[in-house]
Amino acid sequence: MLLVLVRRLGNVIPTLLAVIALVFLLFSVLPGSFISGMNEDGRSVIDPAVMERMRKEMGLDDPLYERFAKYVGKLATGDLGTSFRTREPVTKLIAVRVWPSLKLVFAAMAFAILVGVTLGFLAALKPGSLIDTVSMVTAISGLSLSQFWFGLMLMYLFALTLNWLPSFGYGDGGLRNLILPAIALGVGPMALLARTTRAAVLDVLNADFVRTARSKGMSERLVVKWHVLRNALVLVVTIVGLQFGSLMGQAVVVEKLFAWPGVGSLMVDSVFQRDMPAVQGCILMIVLFFLLINTLVDLAYVVIDPRIRYG
C-alpha cells in the first residue's frame, strides 16, 4: 500500500511541477494588459497611471525567470500569490470555492456511477435486448449532447415547467440546488460509464472463470454477484478515476450556467478579468484534484485487485 503511494507520489510531483511551469509560461505571454481599460461590462475606465504603478508593485516588469523563481518559491510555502482583482490571497479566493466544487463533482459522479453503471450492467446482462438498445442509445446520445444546452433544457423542464427544483444558485447548499447542475455535469461521465461498464461486463461474462462458475452449477445471479461484479469493477474503476479527476475542470460550463460558486466559475471569471494569479491558482487546484483522485484510484486498485499488491 505504502509502496504504491510512494511510487505514485514520485509520479505526481514532477507532473505538478510541469503544470506549474506550463501555466506560468502560458500566462506570461498573455497579450494586452492584464488589467485593461475596460471591464467585463465594458464600463469604468482605470487610470493608466494606476495601471503602471500596479505593474511595478506586482513586479510584472521583472524578467521572466525571476518572476518564475519567485512564484515557485512562494508556491512551496502554499502561497498562490495575490489576486490582481481583489488584492486578496488567491488561496483564500480558491478556498471558499473548493467545498461547493467538491459537492458538485461528487454529486455528479454519484449520479454518473449510479445511473451509468446500472445501465451498463443491465445492458450487458441481456445483450441485444430492448434494454440494451435503449441504454446504449441513451449513452451515445449523452455523449453527443452539448453540455450547456442540456443544462438549459433541464432548467426549463424541472425548474420552469414542472417547478420541482430551483433553477440556479447555491441556495443554502442543500440537495435541491445541487440536483440539476449535478445531472448536467454528470451526463457525460454517465454515458461513458454506461458504455465502459457494458463492455467490461461483457468481457467478464465471456471469461473462462465465468464458465467455470457456471460449470459449478451456480445460478446466473450468483455468477454475477460472486464473480462478475468485482472483476468488472476493476475495469470500470479506471474510467471512473479519469472521469472523476477531470470533472472539476469540466465543470466550468455547468458552473457558469447554474451560477454555482465553484472553482470552475472562478476560473472563467478570472480569465475574463485577466486575473492571472487566480487563473493559475484555479488550474493548479484542478490539476491537484485530478492527481489526488487518481492516486486514490491507484490505492483503490490495491484493495480491489489482489494482483497489484505483489505484482
Binding site: 494586452g32 461590462d41 464600463r43 482605470i46 470555492r97 447555491y170 457558469k256 475574463f272
Partner: protein, 529 residues
C-alpha cells in the same frame, strides 16, 4: 426632535401615497436583486473596485458623500445636509449629517471622510477611485508620498468639512461614485474588511458566498427614518442571461437585466410587460473614426457614413428597440442635451454625393475593430457591412477582445472601432474628449482638433454661471454632431425587469442596477421567505 422628524417623514409618505393609496410600503420581506455582469464580485471593499457589479452591493452596504437622484436627474447630497461653495468655486463647505451611523454603532464624523479619501490616495495601493479624489488640492502629493494628509480637506468641527479643489469642477460627479464610499477606519484596520464590510448603508453585511451571493440585513440605525423597509436583501450573482430568464420567470429573483432578445419577449408577454423599467443610460455607442486615417480626415466622408447607415433599422430590428437613437455625443439625460436635435437622415444617395465631393466616388476600404459585444460589437458591424457596401465603402471587420479594445484606441492603432463610451454624468468631462489638447490616451480617440470647438469648450470650462456653461456645452455638443467625428449609433436603453411585488425602484441613468435599497419594498405577494 427625533420624534418630530419621524412624524414629518410619515406625513410625507402619506402625501406621496395619495396618488396610489394602496402603495403604503410594507415593512419586512426579502429583496432579491441580481448582479448580472460577472460570475463573482470583485471585492466588498469599495475602494478597491471600480466595477458596476460590485457597486450593486455597495449601494446597500455603503454610502458616499453625494448620490444621484434619478427622479430629478441630478446630484444630491447624501451624507451632508448642506453645502456652500466659495466665490471662486474652489472651496466647498459641507454641513455633514449628524445622524449617520456605521453598522458597528459609531457615528460618522468629518474625520471618517478625510480618512477614507486619504486612504484612497495611498499611492502604493493604486486604488481605482484615486482619479476621483485627485480633484482635491494636495491629494496628488499624498499619492506621490510627499504628504501624509490631503491639504485640501479640513475638518472645521465633527460635522463640518471644508474641501478645496484644484479646478473649478463639481465635486458631486466624483463623490457620488461608489468606490469613494466612506468607511470606518477602525474596521478597515482590522485587516479583514473585504470579508466583513461595515458601512453606512441601509443594510448591514451578513454573508458573502463568493461566486453566489451577498446577503445583508436591515440596519436599524440607518439615518433615513422608517427605512429601509425590507428585513433582508440578497444580491444573487447571475451572469448567464438565459439562466437568469428561467430564474426570473420561476420567481426566484425579483429583478433581472434584459438583453435585446429578452426585452422583446418580455414586452410581448402579457404578464411580464408590466414589470419593465427602462432608462437611457449615459453611454453613447458609436463607431469612432481615427482622423489620421486619410479618408476620415474629411468631414464629408464622416457625414456620408452617418447618412449611409440605416441606424433606425438597426436599432429597431437588431437592437430590438433596446436603445435610443443617438442624436449627439451627450446623452438624453444630460442638461446640455438639445432636445430639438434631429438625427442624420438615412439617405444613401446623399452619402454617395458627399463621398464623391470628398474625392471618393468609388468609395474606399477601412478596417473596423470590434469586440464581440452583442449591443455594440460584431453583430452591429455585420449589419453595417452590407449597408456601407451599397455606397461603395468596404468594411473589413477585425475582432478583438473587449479588454484590449481600449488599449488599441489609446494607441491609435485603429482605423475605426466600435464601442460604448461613457458620456456622463458630467457633461464637461464628456465633451473634453474632442478638445484638441486632450491626448489620445485620455479619451480623444478620434484625434479630433477644431479651433471652433476648442473655443467653445474653454469658455464653458471657465464659466462659473451654470446656465451659461450649459449653453456653451450645448453649442459644443451640436457642433460635434454636425462635424460627425464618429458614427452616432445609440444611447443604451437599460432595461430592468422586476416582479410585481417589488416597489420603489428607480430608473437610474448612471447604471440601472444601482438601486437605493432603502427605497425598495416588497409586498406580501413575494414568494421569498
Amino acid at each position: 426632535m427625533r420624534k418630530l422628524l419621524s412624524l414629518t417623514a410619515v406625513a410625507m409618505i402619506a402625501f406621496g401615497g395619495v396618488a396610489a393609496a394602496q402603495e403604503t410600503p410594507r415593512k419586512g420581506g426579502t429583496i432579491r436583486m441580481t448582479a448580472p455582469y460577472a460570475a463573482s464580485f470583485g471585492s466588498l471593499d469599495p475602494h478597491t473596485t471600480p466595477r458596476a457589479q460590485d457597486d450593486i452591493v455597495n449601494k446597500a452596504l455603503q454610502r458616499t458623500l453625494y448620490n444621484w437622484d434619478s427622479k430629478e436627474g441630478k446630484l444630491v447630497l447624501e451624507l451632508a445636509k448642506s453645502v456652500t461653495p466659495s466665490e471662486d468655486g474652489l472651496t466647498y463647505t459641507y454641513k455633514l449629517r449628524d445622524d449617520a451611523y456605521f453598522h458597528n454603532g459609531r457615528k460618522m464624523t468629518a474625520d471618517d471622510i478625510i480618512w477614507s479619501y486619504t486612504r484612497i490616495m495611498d499611492g502604493s495601493k493604486g486604488y481605482p477611485a484615486a482619479r476621483y479624489v485627485r480633484i482635491i488640492k494636495g491629494a496628488v502629493d499624498v499619492e506621490k508620498g510627499q504628504a501624509k494628509e490631503i491639504s485640501g480637506l479640513k475638518k472645521i468641527d465633527d460635522f463640518t468639512l471644508e474641501m478645496t479643489l484644484t479646478d473649478r469642477v463639481d465635486p458631486g460627479y466624483s463623490f457620488f461614485v461608489g468606490s469613494t464610499a466612506i468607511l470606518p477606519k477602525e474596521e478597515v484596520e482590522k485587516g479583514n474588511y473585504a470579508n466583513n464590510p461595515v458601512g453606512l448603508g441601509p443594510f448591514k453585511f451578513k454573508e458573502h458566498l463568493p461566486g453566489s451571493r451577498v446577503v445583508a440585513e436591515r440596519f436599524d440605525k440607518f439615518y433615513k427614518p422608517g427605512k429601509p423597509y425590507a428585513d433582508k436583501l440578497e444580491v444573487l450573482i447571475m451572469a448567464e442571461a438565459a439562466a437568469r430568464d428561467v430564474a426570473f420567470r420561476n420567481k426566484e429573483i425579483d429583478t433581472s437585466i434584459l438583453g435585446p432578445a429578452q426585452y422583446v419577449a418580455y414586452r410581448e408577454d402579457p404578464q411580464l410587460k408590466n414589470g419593465i423599467l427602462e432608462v437611457a443610460e449615459m453611454f453613447t455607442r458609436a463607431v469612432t473614426f481615427n482622423h489620421s486615417y486619410k479618408p476620415f480626415a474629411d468631414k464629408r466622408v464622416r457625414q456620408a457614413i452617418n447618412h449611409a447607415i440605416d441606424t433606425d433599422l438597426i436599432i429597431k430590428r437588431l437592437v430590438k428597440d433596446k436603445a435610443y437613437r443617438a442624436v449627439s455625443w451627450l446623452p438624453i439625460s444630460a442638461t446640455a442635451f438639445d432636445k430639438s436635435a434631429k438625427p442624420y437622415a438615412f439617405d444613401p444617395d446623399k452619402a454617395k454625393k458627399l463621398l464623391a465631393e470628398a474625392g471618393y466616388p468609388n468609395g474606399f476600404e477601412f478596417e473596423l475593430t470590434t469586440s464581440q459585444n452583442e449591443s455594440w460589437g460584431l453583430p452591429i458591424v455585420e449589419a453595417i457591412i452590407p449597408m456601407l457596401a451599397k455606397v461603395g465603402i468596404k468594411v473589413k471587420p477585425k475582432l478583438v477582445e473587449v479588454t484590449v479594445l481600449t488599449d488599441i484606441a489609446m494607441k491609435g492603432e485603429h482605423q475605426a472601432y466600435i464601442g460604448s463610451n461613457l458620456t456622463g454624468p458630467d457633461s464637461l468631462t464628456t465633451m473634453r474628449c474632442y478638445y484638441s489638447k486632450t491626448p489620445r490616451t485620455a479619451c480623444n480617440y478620434t484625434g479630433y482638433s477644431n479651433p471652433a470647438f476648442d473655443k467653445l469648450f474653454e469658455d464653458a470650462a471657465s464659466s462659473i454661471d451654470p446656465a451659461k456653461r450649459n449653453d456653451l456645452l450645448r453649442q459644443a455638443n451640436n457642433l460635434i454632431y454636425d462635424e460627425a467625428p464618429i458614427w452616432f449609433f445609440n444611447y443604451n436603453k437599460a432595461v430592468l425587469a422586476y416582479q410585481p411585488w417589488i416597489h420603489g425602484l428607480q430608473a437610474n441613468p448612471t447604471e440601472i442596477t444601482h438601486q437605493y435599497p432603502e427605497d425598495i419594498w416588497v409586498d406580501a405577494k413575494s414568494p421569498a421567505r
